[in-house]
Symmetry: C2
Subunit: 638 residues, 2 copies
C-alpha cells in the first residue's frame, strides 16, 4: 500500500469553487466546437451566431390561388365596367408559385371570371396585393440563432430553410471513466465467487454523463496497482476532456489516485467535508480535470454530481434548470456528524396537508436508495441532525405530481405488496412506496400519521388470533379497519433438499445449525417466540437468535448463500429462491387502514386492485397464499 496522504476536510463550496477557479485559470472553459450536419444537431448548442445564407422564400410568391397581373392594367375595373385580360396579360398561379417580374399583383380565383381564352376582372388590383415578399420567413443575412442556443426541431427547420446544412456546435466533452479494484468483475457473469463485486459504478456515472450532455468513455477494470492505474490515466489523457478514477472501496486505495495526480499534474483537493463522499479527489492533469470518486455507489454518485456536473455543464455552456425544492416534514430523527454536510436521500409523499420525507437507507453501498430516492436533503455542517417532525428543504428528483400520486405502506414485508405496487402504477399511475419495519413499526407509523396503511400479521398469544387485539391496543380511541390482503404459510426455510434434515423448531437448537432471525417487532419474530414458548424451547439455545434481518427475502437469501442454515419465513420467499420449506402455521396478513382515509380516491384504487383478478393471478403465481378472504374487511373498530 502506498504512503498515507493527508486527507483534508475541505468545506464543499470551497472545494467546488477552487476546482472551478483553477480550471478557469488554465482556460478549460473556453468553448470548443465541432461542425456537424444540421440534421444531427438536435439538442446540441450553437457555438456561433448562425446567419441565413438564403432567403425563405427566395422568390416573390403568390399568397393565393388565382392569377398574376400587372396591377395598372386593372385600375379601371368595376362590377359595372369589367375589364377583360387576354391570355398574355395574366398568369394562372397557385399559392406558393413564383410571380415573374412582369407581374406585380395577384387576384384571387374567387374574383376572376374565366371566359374562353381570357379572364374578366371586376375590381382593380392594388399593386403587390396577395404577394409574399422574398424573405417573408427569413432573409439572407438574418441571424437565425445567436451563439449558445439549444437546437430543437424548429431551429432545424429554420436552418434548412436558410440553406444551412452544417453547423458548428459546442463539442461534447469526453469523460474517461476508469474503474479500479481487484475485487471488481464485469457484469453478466452468471457465477460469481464470494468476495467478487459487479462493477456497476462506471455504468452509473456513464448514465449521468449522458444526462449532462457529455460522452462517457468507459475503460476496462484496472486492478489495484499504482502503475496500472497510472498507465490507465496516461492512456486516456490526450483524448479525454475529463478523467474519472473510480476507486475501490477499501481504505487507502484512493491514495493511489491522489499520488498519481500529484505526479502527473496538480492535486487540488483531497478530502471534502461531506458525508458520504469524504475521500473525493480533485486534480488537474494537462489542463484537464481529474476526479477520484470513492468506491461506494452513493459516495461515487454524490461526488460526481457535486464536482463533475457543474464542470461538464459549464464546459458546454449548458444552463440546466435547477430542480424544484419543497419543504417537507422529516418522518424520523436523523443524526448527523457536526463538521460535515450530510446528504440524505429521501422518499416523499403527500399526507394530510403536508409532504412527509422518509429517509432512505444511508449505507453508502445501497444502490437501491438511489433508485428509490424522490429527492435529497442536506444537513449542513453546523447542525447535529434533524428531529422527527422538523421541516427540511428537499431538492426534488421527480415531478411533484409523482409525490402527490403516492401511497405509503409502512409495516410488515410481504411479496404481495410489490405486486400491489406494480398493479397500482399500471392501472392508475399511482405509486406505492413501502418500508419494511415490521408489523409493530407499521402500527406506530399509522398512529403518528406517517403512512396511509400498514401491512400487519400479529399473533395474539392469548387468543391465537391475528391483529385485532394489537390494533385495539396500539390505536386507542381511533377508528380503524382491517382488510385482509392474503393468508400465507409460515414455516422453516431450509436449503434445497433439506440437507440438515430440519423438521421442527426443536431442530434449530442443534449445534450444527445457524439460525437467522427477524427483527424485534416483526410479526414473524412474534410468531417464532410464541411457538418457542408453546413448545418450551429456550431461545438462548438457538445459535443466531440475535442475528436480525428485515425481510422474508433477506433471511431466505442468507440461507441460499450459506450465510446461515434455517430461518422462519413465508413460503413464497423460499420458493422465490428455490429453497425447501417446512410449513408450521397459516397466518392473516391484513392491511390496517384508518377509515377516515377510505374516502381518498387513492385508497379506493388500492381496494379495487386488491379485488381484481389480475392481483389474484399474480399472487397465485408466487404460491403459498390463500386468497379466500382477500379484499374483505375482517375486523373494524367499535
Amino acid at each position: 500500500m502506498s504512503r498515507k496522504v493527508y486527507i483534508e476536510n475541505m468545506p464543499l463550496e470551497k472545494a467546488q469553487q477552487l476546482f472551478i477557479n483553477q480550471l478557469e485559470q488554465v482556460g478549460y472553459f473556453n468553448l470548443t466546437g465541432e461542425t456537424i450536419p444540421v440534421l444531427d444537431s438536435q439538442g446540441r448548442v450553437s457555438l456561433h451566431p448562425v446567419i441565413a445564407k438564403r432567403s425563405s422564400p427566395h422568390y416573390i410568391a403568390s399568397a393565393m390561388d388565382g392569377i398574376a397581373v400587372k396591377a395598372d392594367v386593372t385600375f379601371t375595373a368595376t362590377e359595372t365596367n369589367p375589364i377583360t385580360l387576354a391570355k398574355e396579360q395574366y398568369l394562372e398561379v397557385d399559392t406558393g408559385d413564383y410571380i415573374p417580374p412582369q407581374y406585380d399583383s395577384v387576384i384571387m380565383i374567387e374574383d376572376v371570371n374565366y371566359i374562353e381564352n381570357s379572364v374578366q376582372i371586376i375590381k382593380a388590383a392594388v399593386p403587390w396585393q396577395h404577394i409574399r415578399s422574398v424573405g417573408e420567413d427569413l432573409v439572407t443575412g438574418d441571424m437565425v440563432m445567436t451563439s449558445l442556443q439549444t437546437i430543437g426541431p424548429y431551429e432545424i427547420a429554420a436552418l434548412l430553410n436558410a440553406a444551412i446544412t452544417d453547423i458548428e456546435v459546442v463539442k461534447k466533452p469526453v469523460v474517461a471513466i476508469i474503474p479500479t479494484g481487484t475485487e471488481l468483475v464485469e457484469y453478466g457473469n452468471p457465477e460469481m465467487a464470494p468476495g467478487e463485486i459487479v462493477e456497476s459504478n462506471s455504468h452509473m456515472l456513464s448514465g449521468l454523463c449522458l444526462e449532462w450532455g457529455a460522452v462517457p468513455w468507459r475503460q476496462n477494470i484496472v486492478i489495484d496497482d499504482r502503475e496500472a492505474i497510472k498507465q490507465a490515466v496516461l492512456s486516456v489523457k490526450d483524448q479525454a476532456d475529463f478523467i474519472v478514477v473510480c476507486s475501490g472501496s477499501s481504505a487507502g486505495r484512493e491514495d493511489y489516485t491522489s499520488s498519481i495526480v500529484e505526479e502527473l499534474g496538480e492535486l487540488i483537493v483531497h478530502g471534502i467535508a461531506t458525508r458520504p463522499g469524504k475521500p473525493a479527489i480533485l486534480g488537474i492533469i494537462d489542463n484537464k480535470p481529474l476526479i477520484g470518486v470513492p468506491g461506494y455507489p452513493i459516495s461515487a454518485q454524490l461526488v460526481f454530481s457535486l464536482f463533475a456536473k457543474p464542470v461538464l455543464l459549464k464546459k458546454q455552456a449548458i444552463d440546466l434548470p435547477e430542480p424544484e425544492t419543497i419543504t417537507a416534514q422529516m418522518s424520523r430523527k436523523i443524526a448527523s456528524s457536526m463538521g460535515v454536510d450530510e446528504f440524505i436521500n429521501v422518499n416523499l409523499a403527500y399526507m394530510e396537508g403536508k409532504y412527509l420525507a422518509y429517509p432512505l437507507n444511508r449505507g453508502a453501498g445501497i444502490t437501491t436508495s438511489l433508485v428509490k430516492a424522490d429527492g435529497i436533503t442536506v444537513i449542513p455542517r453546523g447542525k447535529e441532525g434533524i428531529n422527527a417532525g422538523e421541516d427540511c428543504q428537499i431538492k426534488l428528483w421527480r415531478p411533484r405530481k409523482v409525490l402527490d400520486e403516492t401511497l405509503v405502506c409502512i409495516g410488515s414485508h410481504d411479496m404481495s405488496i410489490d405486486i400491489l405496487a406494480d398493479l397500482l402504477y399500471k392501472s392508475y399511475g399511482l405509486r406505492l412506496i413501502s418500508s419494511n419495519v415490521g408489523s409493530m413499526g407499521g402500527l406506530m407509523a399509522l398512529r403518528r400519521g406517517e403512512t396511509h396503511f400498514s401491512g400487519i400479521h400479529l399473533l395474539d398469544y392469548e387468543t391465537g388470533k391475528y391483529n385485532t387485539s394489537y390494533v385495539n391496543r396500539y390505536l386507542p380511541g381511533q377508528d380503524w379497519c382491517l382488510i385482509n390482503l392474503v393468508n400465507r404459510q409460515q414455516g422453516l426455510i431450509v436449503k434445497k433438499g433439506n440437507p440438515l434434515n430440519v423438521q421442527s423448531l426443536q431442530d434449530i437448537t442443534r449445534d450444527n445449525i445457524r439460525y437467522i432471525n427477524r427483527q424485534k417487532g416483526s410479526g414473524t419474530r412474534l410468531l417464532l417466540d410464541f411457538m418457542l414458548q408453546q413448545q418450551g424451547v429456550d431461545s438462548n439455545s438457538i445459535y443466531g437468535y440475535n442475528r436480525e434481518e428485515y425481510t422474508h427475502l433477506a433471511v431466505a437469501a442468507a440461507v441460499k448463500n450459506d450465510a446461515g442454515d434455517v430461518a422462519l419465513g413465508i413460503y413464497s420467499s423460499a420458493r422465490a429462491l428455490d429453497l425447501d420449506f417446512v410449513p408450521l402455521a397459516e397466518e392473516s396478513y391484513d392491511l390496517c387502514i384508518l377509515p377516515e382515509r377510505l374516502g381518498d380516491i387513492r385508497l379506493e384504487q388500492l381496494l379495487s386492485v386488491i379485488q381484481s383478478n389480475e392481483f389474484k393471478k399474480h399472487i397465485d403465481q408466487i404460491g403459498g397464499y390463500n386468497l379466500k378472504s382477500s379484499g374483505q374487511i375482517t375486523s373494524q373498530s367499535r
Copy 2:
C-alpha cells in the same frame, strides 16, 4: 385533382377524443415490448416488473478493515484481561471481503494488537458485528423496478448488481413521415429555381418525434400524385406504427390524403375548428393511426402536436410533465375568427411587475415564429379576439427564468441589434428579443411601457438633426435619454455592378426601375421623404413607392432576388447580400431608454456590452458603421 371532400369543422377536443377512442377500440395502445441490453436502456421504460436474480452483495461481507473471528472465542476479552488469537483463529479482512462460515464477527483493525504470529483482543466481539448481510442492497426476488418505470443511471446500476443484463422495455413507435409536394426539393441544394421550396417540415416533425420518444422514419419526397402518395403509404404501413402525410400547401391537395385514407382504412376526421391547422386529417389504416398535416410549417407543427403527441406518448405509457402556464398581458390587440380555436405563438418578457406577451407573426409559413416562440396562447372558439392589455394564459416553451432574463427592444431595425443580442447572451446569459416596427413604432411602444428600450433614427426635417425633437414630442413629460449605438451609412441598394446605373434619387423615378420602400413610420421612410422633398422629386413618379418591407435586409433581399431594383437602406445590408451601394447620408441610430430603468442590472449589462471591444470588433466586420460616439449619451430630457 380528386373530388372535393367535405371538410368538417370539428371542435378540437372532440377530434382528439374521437381519435384516441377509435385507436383504443382497435387495441392500438396495448403496450408492446422489445428486449435490449441494460447498458442501452437509459431513458427507456420497463414493460414488466423486474425481479432481482442475484443478491447484492451475494455473500456475507466485512463492513470494516480488520479481522474476522468467531465471536464466542472473544467473550472474555477485556483491557485488563486481553485474549490472544492464534493464526488459525482469525482471518485478516478488508472492507467488502468475504467472511467464511467459520467466522461470525469482525473486529476493527483499530481494536487489534498484532503480536508476531497472533493478535491480541481487548474487547469481546458481539456476534454479527461489522458484517454486511447477504442482500444488504438487494435480495434475489426483490422487485427492482415495477412496470412502466423510466430507466436512469441508478436503475442501470441496480439492474447490473441484480444480475439483470437485458430488459424488456416498451417499444418506441416508428413514425413514417411522408413529405408530398411537386414544388418540394431536398435541402442542401445550393441553386434553387424560383417556385422551389426546401422540404423542411418532415425534419421538424422528425425532431418532434425524438422529443416524444418515438423513432422518426422519414421518406423521400413524393410528387403530387394520388397513386404515388398511396404507394408511399402502402410501402410504410407494415413497418410503421404511425403514419404522417405532409401535404403540400396548395388548396385541395390534402384531398389526396383523405381519399387514400378512405380507400385503405377509415377516415375519422377531416377538418378541425382551429387556426392554423384546419385541414388536418385523422384516420386509421390497419389499426394504425395516420395523420395528414397541412403544408405550412406552423400548421404542420400545431396539428402534429395536437394529435400525434398524445397518441405517441400514450402508446409508450409516457407521462410527460405539462408545460408551466403563466398569466401575461397581451401587448396588442389580436383579432380571431369566431368558431375556431386560434393558437398564437408569443414572445414573453417581464416588465414592470408583469409578464408581457408579444404575438409573433401569425403567417402559417413563418418557421421563425416557432424558433422565437416562448409560449403559446389560445383564443377559444367563442371569443372574438384579445384586446391590448388583456390578461391571457400562456403555455410556456421555455423555463420562466429565461423570460425573467430577457430584454426587449422594439423599434427600428439595425444589424447591430443582432450583435448585441449575441454578446448579451454570451456574456451575461441575458436574452435580447427585438421587434422591427420602425422608429416611430418604437417610441410608441416605449410610451406604452412595452419595451425596455427602442432603436430609433428619426430625422427632423426642420433642424436636419436626429431623434431629439421626436423624443421630446412623443414622450412628453417623461424622462428619457438617448445613447448612441452606431452612426451608419444610408444609401441606395442596387444590384451588383449597378446594371441600371442608379446614381441619385432622381434615377429611381425612371420607368425601368422597380423601387422597394420601407414601411410608414420607419426612419428610413422619413429619410426618403425628406430627401425627395429637398430634391423636389414626386413620390408618385416612383414605381413601387407603396410597396413596403419591414427591414433593411428585406429590401436588400428583394433587390438580390430581382423582386425589385432599388431600395433605400443601410450599407451593411447591401454588403451582407453582396450588392452595390450608392451612399446618400450618414445618420445616428440611437437607443432611447427611460432613465428610471437604468438602475436595472440588465440595462447596465447592455451598456457594458455596447462599450466592449468585442462589440466594436463585430460591428467593424460588418462595415458601413461609424462608432465614434457609440455608447455615449447623446441627449437627454430636461
